[in-house]
């Protein structure tokens, strides 16, 4: 602002000087007939007085009007001009204020319209998010080219083994491409989901960890270029495995009957002939064989019978089930079903067949009400080892074993009485019993152990940071892939993977290895906290005590971790084609690139170094540690001394740098890389001296 204002002021001053000089000349002319002394004095004072008058009535009001107009235009349209009481500007200030009022009104109307629109969008977004969250299936929304634009929490859980899942990444990096491409090809390009145009497929995830049943439908929007497709995902790995196991068991069981049956037929025919020919010894021998084969047949039948029973169990859909939610469903219908009042505190997950388990719980509650007159039951769930104990607790006596047996032998009404409570429990590998509540007198409970569901999320591993380290030679031998369109794209529009490695030491060329990799994605200028990568790696060598003291990772922590090569491959998959970002990234890249040939991958990604860019922007200070840079840019440092924590901090720093780099004339990737290379050269020369 100052740069623009100075010339104008200078212009005003020149203007005022000219007016003052002219008024002096006029005064001298007007007083030409007066005493020369007086005339001289008057002629001398007149320009000064005129100048002062002009300054007060014109120059100052004009200056105040200019500043006020600036405030009105840039920040506060309702601003009142701060003018002297008297001025010669006529209606100019009033007109400026009127213009300000008009601007304010327009701005207010625009803001109101924008606000209403934003509210509508937010409401739609919230509704969509709620729907997506509540949907049991995984949902992924993609553009036509397969780029992921949205996914829900279930999709995240189903695809937890897929490092490539992320906004802006491609679905074919996450799911097996062939079946997906085939299914998309089957869809009518002009028909959308609303017209029932969808198709189903069964597809493995890219890592082969899961088998998913997918339903794909087109999304046709009013906005050109944003058409795409939505895909819902259901995990069928367990069912598929169960079906395969069932088929295999059935085949083996049937085949196991063939040999004894064949022998039985043949031996009995031989026995008949031997008896007919009165061959006593042979008849006795065949009699023994007959007995043996009959026993084999009996054993084979028993095995087949067991297999058949387990097949029925496998046929059930055991699901990971939130016990509290299941009981909430029962409570809703409690009054209608004449159940006791139910209080529930069961924030635990079980592996169960949802419908039949709810039927069993309802049946037991109903029996408690009918038989024992129980009016209120407290349900609670408690995890212990691999089991979850569901306790139904009431005020009163225990249920006798005989009585409970009778309840368990009754058929469940809602499945036509064909399945008893006992069978349902057996198929969950469990039973139920009644006992006094040992912690509270005069209370009893039914205890039903259930198989616990696998943990929903793994506890994050803890790793530590490394010391600052410079290595300018690291990139020299490794060509980076040619920049395509991304070179010209704005920095804030690109996809980045910000990462950090923890290591056994500083010398990858001398046997030091990676022990942990942490990473997070940046998509469209946002740090994607839900799209992170964190993996310990087994360096297959002892971690020096010094290194452990820095990052806190010890030999026992990595004993069961995947080998470094596997960790590097998985990180490569997570990184995809994104621009890699690090804090002193040369150090991390050197470790990765030394591994790439053995791992069959290439780390030829463009890279940005938050450290170098920070030095570039803030060369007035020598404080360029991660904490120092974070503090300067107002970024909170969370999870310091973990690979993921440092990655997250670096990512937040990068977001701030994106805002600041344009001031240094850097707006595009190519410019950032150029500036970075110049910094490297500069530091190299500094080092040489």
């Amino acid at each position: 602002m100052r740069a623009f204002r100075l010339p104008r002021l200078r212009k005003r001053l020149w203007g005022s000087t000219a007016v003052i000089a002219a008024s002096g000349a006029l005064a001298a002319t007007a007083l030409s007939g007066v005493h020369p002394l007086l005339a001289g004095a008057a002629a001398g004072l007149a320009p000064v007085a005129a100048g002062l008058l002009l300054d007060r009535r014109v120059t100052r009001p004009l200056s105040a009007t200019e500043r006020g107009a600036g405030i009105i235009a840039s920040s506060n349209p309702g601003h009142r001009l701060e003018l002297p009481a008297r001025h010669w500007l006529g209606r100019l200030p009033e007109t400026v204020e009127q213009l300000g009022g008009t601007v304010a009104r327009s701005r207010r109307e625009m803001e109101e319209a924008a606000s209403a629109w934003t509210t509508r969008i937010e409401a739609r977004k919230a509704r969509l998010e709620t729907i997506l969250r509540e949907i049991r299936e995984g949902v992924v929304v993609c553009r036509d080219d397969g780029r992921i634009t949205l996914y829900n929490r279930t999709a995240r859980l189903l695809l937890d083994a897929e490092p490539a899942l992320g906004l802006g990444r491609y679905l074919h990096e996450v799911l097996n491409d062939g079946p997906l491409r085939h299914a998309l090809g089957l869809l009518d390009p002009s028909a959308d989901a609303a017209n029932g145009a969808d198709t189903e497929l069964v597809c493995a995830t890219a890592s082969g960890e899961r088998l998913l049943r997918c339903r794909v439908a087109r999304l046709i929007t009013d906005d050109p270029g944003t058409d795409g497709f939505v895909i819902t995902l259901t995990d069928v790995s367990r069912q598929t495995r169960a079906v395969l196991r069932r088929e295999q068991s059935l085949r083996e069981a049937v085949e196991s009957l063939r040999d004894p049956l064949t022998s039985l037929c043949t031996v009995s025919e031989s026995l008949r002939l031997a008896q007919q020919a009165q061959m006593g010894d042979d008849a006795e021998r065949f009699g023994r064989m007959l007995h043996e084969e009959t026993r084999r047949l009996t054993d084979a039948f028993a095995h087949l019978s067991d297999e058949t029973a387990s097949m029925v169990t496998d046929n059930w859909r055991l699901e990971d089930l939130h016990l509290g939610s299941l009981v909430a469903g029962i409570k809703k219908n409690a009054a209608a079903n004449q159940l006791p009042r139910v209080q529930c505190s069961a924030d635990v997950w079980v592996s169960a067949e949802p419908y039949l388990l709810s039927q069993v719980i309802e049946a037991l509650l109903m029996r408690l009400a009918d038989t024992l007159g129980v009016s209120a039951v407290a349900l609670s769930g408690r995890e212990q080892g691999s089991l979850v104990y569901l306790d139904m607790n009431w005020s009163g006596d225990v249920v006798s074993p005989d009585q409970l047996d009778a309840w368990l032998d009754a058929g469940l009404d809602d499945v036509g009485g064909t399945v008893t409570l006992r069978e349902v429990l057996q198929r969950h590998d469990t039973t139920v019993w009644s006992q006094p509540d040992l912690s509270r007198p005069h209370r009893a409970l039914l205890r039903l152990p259930l198989p616990g569901a696998p943990a929903k999320t793994e506890a994050p591993t803890t790793v530590a940071a490394r010391p600052e380290y410079y290595d300018f030679a690291a990139d020299e031998a490794e060509p980076v892939r040619a920049l395509g369109d991304e070179a010209e794209r704005r920095l804030g529009d690109l996809d980045y993977v910000v990462f950090d490695c923890e290591t056994t030491g500083l010398e990858p060329g001398h046997g030091d290895e990676i022990v942990a990799i942490g990473a997070v994605r940046i998509h469209q200028g946002r740090v994607m906290h839900g799209e992170t990568f964190e993996l310990l790696a087994n360096p297959e060598r002892p971690i020096p005590a010094l290194a452990s003291s820095i990052h806190g990772i010890h030999d026992e922590d990595v004993a069961d971790a995947p080998p470094v090569d596997e960790a590097v491959r998985r990180f490569h998959a997570f990184a995809g084609n994104a621009v890699l970002v690090g804090f002193n990234i040369a150090f991390d890249m050197r470790f990765l690139r030394l591994k790439q040939r053995r791992c069959g991958v290439r780390f030829d990604h463009p890279t940005l170094d938050a450290l170098l860019l920070s030095i570039l922007l803030h060369d007035h200070t020598g404080e360029h540690t991660l904490e120092g840079v974070a503090r300067r840019l107002g970024v909170g440092v969370g999870g310091r001394h973990t690979a993921l924590g440092d990655s997250l901090t670096t990512a937040e720093i990068m977001i701030q740098l994106f805002e600041l780099l344009p001031e240094a004339g850097i707006t595009r990737l190519e410019e950032a890389i150029d500036a970075q290379e110049k910094m490297v050269e500069f530091r190299r020369q500094q080092r040489a001296f």
Partner: protein, 124 residues
């Protein structure tokens, strides 16, 4: 001339009973529990027909079938494969690999005797 039948199967009760039935029907019988014994028996017994289980303890019955057919003096040896697999493709596989006949367990003893008689009478 008495024809010789080689039975290659590790089901001892079955082979004993079959041997009895075949001997009662006028055949000479040689027994082998596995592929190795079967190859030795080929040289010793010079069978006119071989009954081979598709699954043997030491190798696949199909593998033995091919080895027997490749062996000296085995040209045109009728081989009846015995199998516990009822898949139609098993039959195709057996014929493709040189078997003359194919029978799925469990079988009727009189039916297999009939097949063996037929094969033996066709053998040189």
């Amino acid at each position: 001339m008495v024809k010789t039948i080689l039975i290659v199967d590790h089901e001892s009760n079955l082979t004993s009973a079959l041997r009895f039935l075949l001997e009662q029907s006028g055949f000479r019988v040689a027994l082998a529990n596995n592929g190795t014994q079967a190859e030795a028996a080929m040289a010793e017994a010079a069978p006119d027909v071989a009954l081979v289980n598709t699954t043997l303890p030491d190798r696949s019955g199909y593998d033995l079938c091919q080895r027997l057919l490749r062996g000296a003096g085995a040209m045109g040896l009728p081989i009846l494969m015995l199998t516990s697999h009822s898949l139609e493709v098993e039959r195709e596989k057996a014929f493709s690999l040189g078997a003359t006949d194919f029978i799925v367990k469990p079988f009727d003893p009189t039916a297999i005797l009939g097949r063996i008689r037929s094969l033996a009478s066709g053998a040189a």
